[in-house]
Symmetry: C2
Subunit: 170 residues, 2 copies
């Protein structure tokens, strides 16, 4: 067992020993979803004020709306959410590379078979060069999608990893 796995078991014993929220329902109580980045420096529950049971939290590299579309449709159509809070952040890794760089690293570390698999899928790592522009574009993508109801409220934000602040962009 790795140190990480031992840590999960210890956290489970500690967390469950004082756990009192086994009664929560499957659908999010406050009927919204938060889409943010996988970045290790973000704790959505505390930074964005999400109590357990209140909201779906979707996280991927860069808080990409396109990448999250499957989860968003399920959240809205099967579990009744009708508001989206989209949060990208300062210092995001997605600002630091392009698809060519990522393909190059995959080739170097995993070989040409792996690159060929990416090429066959026309794999896009979805990096972006400008943070606030990317927030605006992802909100526009969701507002323009046939797969997201027009009645859904969508706001776009930037979380500052340097200050712990979350500020609205759109």
């Amino acid at each position: 067992m790795s140190a990480i796995q031992t840590n999960v078991e210890a956290a489970s014993a500690s967390y469950s020993s004082s756990f009192t929220q086994g009664h929560l329902a499957l659908p999010p109580a406050k009927k919204y979803l938060v889409l943010t980045c996988m970045d290790a420096r973000i704790d959505p529950a505390r930074a964005f004020g999400i109590d357990l049971g209140d909201a779906h939290v979707i996280r991927n590299a860069g808080a990409s709306a396109a990448d999250a579309l499957r989860s968003i449709i399920i959240s809205q159509q099967l579990l009744g959410t009708h508001e989206i809070v989209l949060v990208k952040h300062t210092g995001c890794g997605m600002l630091t590379f392009g698809n060519g760089d990522a393909y190059g690293l995959v080739g170097q570390n995993l070989g040409q078979d792996a690159v060929e698999e990416l090429r066959q899928k026309e794999f896009d790592f979805l990096p972006f060069p400008e943070l606030e522009k990317a927030v605006v574009e992802d909100v526009a993508f969701l507002k323009g999608s046939k797969l997201v109801p027009e009645s859904v409220a969508i706001s776009g934000w930037v979380y500052e990893v340097e200050t712990g602040k979350t500020r609205r962009v759109v």
Copy 2:
């Protein structure tokens, strides 16, 4: 401004007022990633023992490994993680419907244009009928992928929303 948006602003003011971790580096300090579900009843930081800055956290509907592949490659190839903790959970919404149900709801709520868009993309909502089997299959998918290095340690777990416990499956 909606009540949800007001809540984000209040959380930002409160969280940032005592924030002391603006110095954390972009790459996860403990070099691992957690993949879990977007379910509102999961707080990964507390339930799985993740300190701020230690691990990437990827979340989507059902903790799908296939859906998370872009984020996983970026985490490993650009940000140096080399262990995956995959956690699905009891009471998951993905156990409760099939693709036909999801297509039906989209048609009913968003119209035939939306369904046509799904069909053109051969859109798969990735539901699963058996929880532990799905954990085993997703771990096998990652272990078999050319896009994940063989040296990466991968474990599969189930979080119990009723008890707050996380138990290992594979």
